[in-house]
Structure formats: C-alpha cells, structure tokens
Amino acid sequence: MAFLEKLLRSKALVTAAIVLPGLWPAWPLLRQDPSVLADPLKYVLHHLGFMACVLLVVVLAFTPLRVLFPKWGIALALNRHRRLVGVSAFVYAALHFATHLLYEGGFHVLASDVTKPFLISGLLAFSILLVLAVTSLHAAVRWLGGRRWKNLHRFVYLAAALAAYHQIYAQKVFPIQVVWLFGPLLALEAARVVRQRIVKRT
C-alpha cells in the first residue's frame, strides 16, 4: 500500500497514465482493423471525447475520496494531481473539439452545431473547461482570490453533467458506459454530501 502511495505521488507516472491511453487509436490502425479504418477519424474523435470524460470523472472523484477517507494515503496522493488531471481533461476535450472541426470539415459546422442540444452541450462543457484551465494558473488564482476562484471552479460540476448528456446523445441507443463512468462518481458525491452533513451536525 505504501508503495502504491509512493508511486501515485509521482507526477511522471500520473502523466504517463494520462497520455498513454490517448494513443490507443494507433493500435487498431496499426492492426489494420477494417471497422476502424473504414472511418479512422471518427474512431479518434470518439476516443478523445471518451478520454476527456474519463479524466473529468477521475478528477472529480479526488475530493470526495479525500473527504470520505481523510487518512487514506492513496486519496491524499491522488489529490496532489488535481490540477494536472483537470487540465488534462481540458486538453483531451480541446483535441476532441479540434477533431470534430476536422471531421466536419471546418469551423462552418459550428453554425449548425449551435442549433442542436447534443452539440451545444459538448461546446458548453468544453467552454467551461477552457475557462477553468486558464484560471488554474497561479496568477489567476491570486488575481481572483480564493473564494471567487472556488465558486468559479464549481462550474466543473455543470461541465460534468453536460459531458454526461453529450455522451448519452452521441449514440443512437443509450450507451451503458455512461452509467459505469458517471454512476460511481454520483455515488461518491452523494456519500460525501451525507458525510459532510453528519460532520456539521456533530
């Protein structure tokens, strides 16, 4: 356990754990899988969006884990990487958005995007992550002040809800992965709220 804790404190390891899964689409492309080669950019597009969702869920799980298990070394180790993981979620979302523009053939698609809830939800989630990523710089934290910074960064929950909606409507039938991705996060957040109420009362 102590070993795992030490590993998880390493910024290099966490960075590798964030970057390497992003390279996954190279594998079926090298394998010449026809179902991927048929429209490879779509595969890349979906994978980048999926990675953004995963990292968003992961970074949001850090705080409730720390609140629920304040003495658990792994939760503490993970919480050292909140900014890294959060900014990475934004980077994947940005790559996903850029791939969307490439896939659709240019910025002109945005005009049609803004008429469709499925695409607006993605655009809004991305815009929120963009603001949060920019204000994650030390200078921005100082400039905003702690309280205002915290209030601003609570918008991350809205971004997560929008991302879940966006992911659900990316498929023609309900994609079950949304449940196993966002479900555990919801459970953690619920447990955290209950726990904080109990702590307040005592």
């Binding site: 179902s35 080669l37 490879p40 053939g105 049609s112």
Partner: protein, 322 residues
C-alpha cells in the same frame, strides 16, 4: 492447455478470396471479378452460404459503377450496423458468424395478396427470374456513405409474384427473431424483431431491390443474409436485413427506429441534405474507406436518385415527413 476445435463455419485461409480482387475500380474489373468470385464461392462449405441461387449474376447496365468508387469489400462487410449482433460496427462480423444459420431460410409472403405463401429463398430467386448486379450508393443516417455492388432482384418482381389486392397500400417487412443466436436480441437493445415498411408504390419503384449478394457472392451474414432490402434513395436503416416475412397491409406499418425515437427517425427516411437529423447535419457525408483525412462529400437529394424517385413524393412535405 487450450485445445481449440475448429467450428464448422471456420474457413481455412486458402478459402479467402485475395484482397486485390475486391479492390475494384471500374465496371470492367467488376465484370471480370464476378467469375472469380463465383469460383471462390464454390470452395465455401454449403452450410455457410446464404442464398446461393442465381450466381453468377449479370450486371444490370442501367445501374453501373461508372462514376462511382466502389467501397472495398472488407469495409462493406466489416463496418456494419446490425444491432441484433452488437452495437459496435465491428460486432456483427464475428457475432453473426458464430453458428447463426441463414441456410436454409424461408420467407413468408402474407397479408392482402392473392398469392400468399412460404418460399425457400433459393426457390424464390428462381421464381422471380434470377438475380442481377447493381451498383448503388449507400447513405447511412449517421452521415457516412459507401458504394456497394449488390446482387439480387427488383422488389417489384416479388410484388408481382405476391399479386397484391386492391386495398394493399404498404409492405411490412419483418426480420428474424432468434435471441439464442443474436446477442443484441438477448440484450434487447432495440424492440425485436426489427420491422421496416414501404409504401406499395415505393416498393414497385425500379430502384427498390432485394439483395442476396455483394461483390458477386452470396451476401455475408453480417450484411443481412440471405435477403435484405436495398432502397438506395433512403437512409440505410430502411434496408432491413435477414427478412423472414413480407406482409401487404392497408395501414402504414411502424418501423423499429420510428418506434424507438420518433422525433429522430420517420417512416420515409429519404436522404435529404436539407433536413438535419436533430443531432447532426445531413448536408454532407464521410466516405467510408477514404482514410484518416478523407474528408466529406456533399450529400445529394434522394442520395442522387432524384430522377427515379422524386415523383413518388410530389406534394409531400419532406421536412415533416422525414
């Protein structure tokens, strides 16, 4: 140690047709290949084949490959929406070839017809006068497209065989139901069996086609063996696969996707670049097999078949009747 016994549907590598003959460029190549494809088909064990009757098919010169770039065989047969066998486009190819039997296959013609009956698929092919080859554009509602060299027969010939009564206005097509063989049906990811419908005049249009083959060979299971509907001016989901029943009806049959999401999928499903899907634009399409940066091409009204089908929809509000 794992000892693997060979399943009866598994083929030796030697039975696989070389890839280069699938990569056709023009009709002359296509014509040459039909013969080679048949030789390949002769090597296949009979249990694997769908409808074998009528091959080699003669290409119908009215629907040539000229001006079209035929999609490679491995994409047509490896990138499939066949939710009965899984939601991912890579699922149907393995899952539909794990013992699901498409031979023998019986299709029933029922409803408001003078000649109802049950037909073995191969007998049916004989009754409608054999099969022919046609190259059609294929446009999916998900905004991607292929060009497919089908083999089969005009649906109008089946209508003539059935001899509809005067009050027959629609055709209701029903696909197979076999949850034991179809994992998607076990998961009930849609309402099964899959149902589709056409207006009788649509069904009698020259373009409406029942496919029994692709690339001059019996149609693979994952593409809807042994009988599938092809209506190239409509989105792909109208092309119901593995048909077991065709019923002639008085009232409009509700199709599966319309039942699932009526605000997104209508009865007509005509390809229309001016009417967007609620979640994406239909103005252009990705070309399957064009590569990572293959780009898009503009989508054509009725998928480029305006001349043949526009008259069917005169006076119909296409925005409302999507």
């Amino acid at each position: 140690m794992l000892i693997r016994s060979k399943k009866d549907w598994e083929l030796p590598e030697s039975a696989v047709t070389p890839e280069q003959i699938y990569r056709l460029r023009n009709r002359r190549d296509f014509l040459k290949t039909v013969g080679i494809g048949l030789a390949g088909a002769a090597l296949l064990p009979r249990s694997l084949l769908a409808a074998t009757a009528g091959f080699p098919s003669k290409p119908n010169p009215a629907y040539p490959a000229a001006g079209l770039k035929i999609t490679p065989y491995e994409y047509i047969t490896g990138y499939n929406n066949f939710y009965e066998f899984g939601l991912d486009k890579s699922d149907p190819k393995p899952n539909a070839n794990r013992g699901w039997k498409t031979d023998p296959w019986t299709v029933e013609i029922a409803g408001l017809v003078n000649q109802p009956g049950k037909y073995d698929v191969n007998d049916l092919v004989g009754k409608v006068g054999g099969i022919e080859g046609r190259v059609y554009r294929h446009r999916c509602v998900e905004a991607w497209s292929m060009v497919v060299p089908w083999d089969g027969f005009p649906l109008a010939k089946l209508v003539a065989l059935a001899d509809p009564k005067p009050d027959a206005k629609y055709l209701k097509f029903t696909s197979f139901l076999d949850p034991k063989s179809a994992p998607g049906q076990r998961d009930a990811n849609l309402d099964y069996p899959y149902v589709e419908g056409l207006r009788l005049d649509e069904a009698m249009n020259e373009l409406a086609f029942i496919a029994t083959g692709i690339y001059g060979r019996p149609i693979p299971n994952q593409n809807g063996a042994p009988l599938r509907l092809v209506t190239p001016w409509k989105y792909g989901f109208k092309g119901i696969k593995s048909i077991v029943r065709i019923e002639f009806t008085k009232s409009v049959p509700r199709n599966t996707w319309n039942i699932m999401a009526p605000q997104e999928y209508g009865f007509y499903a005509n390809v229309n670049p001016n009417v967007d899907h609620p979640r994406w634009s239909q103005a252009s399409e990705r070309i399957i097999g064009a590569g990572l940066l293959g780009g898009r091409q503009p989508t054509l009204m009725f998928n480029g078949y305006e001349k043949q089908v526009a008259s069917l929809y005169q006076g119909l509000n296409l925005e409302r009747n999507y």
